[in-house]
C-alpha cells in the first residue's frame, strides 16, 4: 500500500495531537505540584516547593506506597505462577471445556471491577467468614492479574511452536529438564512483560481494592482517594503522582528494551 505524503502527514499530525491530549493533564499535574493555589486555579497564582517538602515528610504516603508495593509484588508472584501454568495447559493441549477455561481466565478482567469487588467482598465476609485485610487484597489482585501473564506467555508460546520442546524430548531430556533449558529461557521476556503489567495493574487498582481491603489496609490508591478532596493534602497527592510517573519510566524502558531485542525485525 502506498500512502501519499499528505496522508502520512495527516496521520503524523493526529498522532502528535493525541499525545498532546494524553500528556497535557499529566503536565498539569506536574505543574500543580508547584502551584501555590490549593484549588489548582489556572493560570497558577505562584510557584512553591512547599508541597514537595511536605510530601517528603508524609508518613501516610510512604506507608501507603510500601503497602501497595507489598500487595503488587505478592499478587504478581502468584499471577506469574498460575498464569504460566494455565497458558502452558491451554496452548499445548486440547481438551474438553478448553474454551470455557479460557473464558474463565479472562472473566475477572472482562467483568467490571465493581462486580469483581462486590463478589469477592461478599465471598470473603459472607461465605468464608474471613476478616478483610492485606491477604484478601492480595488474593483479589492476583485473581485479575493472572490474565496479563497468561496473555503474554500464551502469545509467546504460540509464536515459539512446539518443535524445540519435541527435539529436546527426542534427545532424551525429561519434562522438567526441557522446561528449564528450552521452554523457560524462551518465555523469560514474556514473563517479565506480563509481570510488569500485572504489577502496574495491581499498584493502581482502586475499585476491587476498596471492596476487599479492611479498614486498616491503606494501599496508595486508597490513600490518594482519602486525601484527594482535602485542601491541605491534595497538592501532596500531586507530588506523589509526579514521582510515580517519573519512576514508571524505568520499568517501561526495561520492558521495551527486552521485547525489542527479542522480536527482531518486522
Amino acid at each position: 500500500m502506498i500512502l501519499g505524503a499528505g496522508v502520512k502527514r495527516i496521520l503524523a499530525t493526529l498522532t502528535a495531537l493525541t499525545l498532546l491530549v494524553m500528556y497535557l493533564p499529566l503536565m498539569l499535574v506536574v505543574l500543580n505540584s508547584f502551584n501555590t493555589s490549593r484549588s489548582f486555579a489556572w493560570p497558577p497564582s505562584g510557584l512553591t516547593l512547599e508541597w514537595w517538602r511536605r510530601a517528603w515528610s508524609s508518613d501516610g504516603a510512604r506507608e501507603a506506597v510500601m503497602t501497595s508495593v507489598q500487595v503488587a509484588l505478592a499478587s504478581t508472584a502468584i499471577a506469574l505462577v498460575l498464569g504460566t501454568l494455565m497458558s502452558l495447559a491451554l496452548q499445548r493441549y486440547s481438551f474438553f471445556g478448553k474454551n470455557s477455561v479460557n473464558l474463565l481466565v479472562i472473566l475477572p478482567i472482562a467483568l467490571p471491577g465493581i462486580v469483581t469487588g462486590i463478589a469477592l467482598n461478599n465471598a470473603f465476609r459472607g461465605v468464608m467468614g474471613i476478616q478483610l485485610g492485606l491477604l484478601t487484597v492480595i488474593v483479589a489482585h492476583a485473581t485479575f492479574c493472572i490474565v496479563t501473564v497468561f496473555n503474554n506467555v500464551q502469545a509467546r508460546l504460540r509464536r515459539m511452536g512446539g518443535s524445540f520442546e519435541e527435539a529436546s524430548a527426542d534427545l532424551g531430556a525429561g519434562v522438567w529438564t526441557t522446561f528449564r533449558l528450552v521452554t523457560f529461557p524462551q518465555l523469560r521476556s514474556a514473563l517479565l512483560a506480563g509481570g510488569l503489567l500485572a504489577f502496574a495493574l495491581s499498584f493502581d487498582e482502586i475499585i476491587v481494592t476498596t471492596f476487599t481491603a479492611g479498614a486498616g489496609t491503606t494501599t496508595l490508591p486508597i490513600w490518594i482517594l482519602n486525601n484527594l478532596f482535602r485542601p491541605n493534602q491534595a497538592p501532596i497527592v500531586n507530588v506523589v503522582a509526579v514521582v510515580l510517573i517519573l519512576l514508571s519510566i524505568v520499568p517501561i524502558w526495561i520492558a521495551q528494551k527486552i521485547s525489542g531485542d527479542a522480536e527482531g525485525v518486522r
Binding site: M22, P25, S39, F40, L111, I146, G174
Partner: protein, 301 residues
C-alpha cells in the same frame, strides 16, 4: 549451554527419572498437573464468589434489624426490573460506556496505524513508551487532573473562553471525556499489536493489484484488525461500565450503575440489593463477550 545439556542428559536420580518418563508418556497427567493449581484458584476464588453473589441477590434484608434474611425471594430482581431508576441508570451507563468506546477507537486507529506502519523502528519504540507511560500515572490523579481542567476557573475555561466557548462543567460530558482519556492506552495497545501482525506484504500486494489506500484499509486491514479492535473495546466498555469513582469526581450529581452498587453496599447496607444491581453489568458483559467470542477477539486481549 552445551555443558548444561550434557549434564542434563545423564540419568540422575531414578525416582525423578521415573516421574519424568511417566509424565512424558501420559499427556493427560501433564495436563492435569498444569491445570490443577490455576483452575482451583479461579474456581475457588472467582466462580464461587460469582455464584454466591447470584444467591445473595435472591436474599433480602430485614428492614427492622438490618440483618440479611437467608430465604430465597425474587423481590430484588423484581425491583430492579420494574423501578424506573434502574432502567434510567442502566441506559445512561451503557450510553456512557458506548460513547467512551467509540471515541477511544476513533482516536486509537490513526495513532496505532502511524505507530505500526509508518513510524521508523526507533520512533515506534519511543511512541510505545509514550503511550504506555500514562498508564502508570494513578487513575485517581488523572481523574482529578480532569476535575481541575474542567473546573470553572480551570485551564479548559481559560482556553475555550478565548474562542467564545466554555467548560462543559461537571456532568455526563465530563465523565465521558475523563473516561475516554483514562482508558485510551488500553484501546491503542491491542489495536497497535493487531496492526503489527498485519504483514506489510499484504498491503503491498493490495496496492500492486491496483487498490487505493482506502480500499486496502477497508478490505484488507480492517477484517484482519477486527478482533484487535473488539479486544480494545472490551477494555474500555467494561472498565467504564463498572466505574463509580470518576462519576464521583467529575460527574456532578449523576449516578452510574457502579454508584448504585456502592451505595447499597455501604450507606444503605443492603448487600442483596447491591448484588442484584451488580447482575446488570454481568449480564451486559456476558452478552457482549458471547457475541464477540467467534471473532477471536478474546485471544487479542
Amino acid at each position: 549451554m552445551s555443558t548444561d545439556t550434557s549434564r542434563a542428559a545423564v540419568p540422575s536420580r531414578t525416582a525423578a527419572r521415573r516421574a519424568s518418563s511417566l509424565l512424558t508418556s501420559k499427556p493427560w497427567l501433564r495436563l492435569t498437573l498444569l491445570l490443577t493449581a490455576p483452575l482451583t484458584w479461579l474456581v475457588l476464588v472467582y466462580v464461587v464468589a460469582l455464584a454466591a453473589l447470584l444467591v445473595t441477590a435472591l436474599w433480602s434484608v430485614d428492614s427492622f434489624t438490618g440483618e440479611i434474611t437467608r430465604s430465597l425471594t425474587f423481590d430484588n430482581i423484581k425491583e430492579i426490573a420494574t423501578e424506573s431508576l434502574y432502567r434510567t441508570v442502566t441506559l445512561r451507563t451503557i450510553g456512557v460506556a458506548a460513547a467512551v468506546t467509540i471515541i477511544d477507537i476513533a482516536i486509537a486507529l490513526p495513532i496505532a496505524f502511524y505507530m505500526a506502519k509508518i513510524a521508523s523502528r526507533r520512533m515506534q519504540r519511543v511512541l510505545v513508551i509514550a503511550v504506555l507511560t500514562p498508564l502508570w500515572a494513578s487513575y485517581l490523579v488523572k481523574a482529578f487532573a480532569w476535575r481541575s481542567v474542567l473546573s470553572d476557573d480551570g485551564i479548559f475555561e481559560w482556553a475555550s473562553s478565548k474562542i467564545g466557548m466554555g467548560t462543559p462543567g461537571y456532568g455526563i460530558t465530563a465523565v465521558i471525556i475523563t473516561q475516554a482519556y483514562i482508558w485510551l492506552p488500553y484501546v491503542i495497545l491491542p489495536i497497535f499489536a493487531g496492526l503489527e501482525r498485519v504483514p506489510n506484504s499484504l498491503l503491498d500486494a493490495s496496492g500492486d493489484l491496483g487498490a487505493s489506500a482506502w480500499q486496502t484499509l477497508r478490505t484488507v486491514v480492517f477484517p484482519l484488525l477486527k478482533p484487535a479492535i473488539i479486544a480494545g473495546s472490551i477494555f474500555s466498555f467494561s472498565l467504564t461500565l463498572g466505574d463509580y469513582i470518576t462519576v464521583n469526581i467529575v460527574g456532578g450529581a449523576n449516578q452510574m450503575l457502579g454508584n448504585l452498587v456502592y451505595t447499597n453496599v455501604g450507606a444503605a447496607n443492603n448487600l442483596p440489593l447491591a448484588a442484584a444491581v451488580a447482575l446488570i453489568p454481568i449480564v451486559i458483559m456476558i452478552g457482549y463477550l458471547t457475541a464477540v467470542r467467534r471473532t477471536g477477539a478474546l485471544e487479542n486481549l
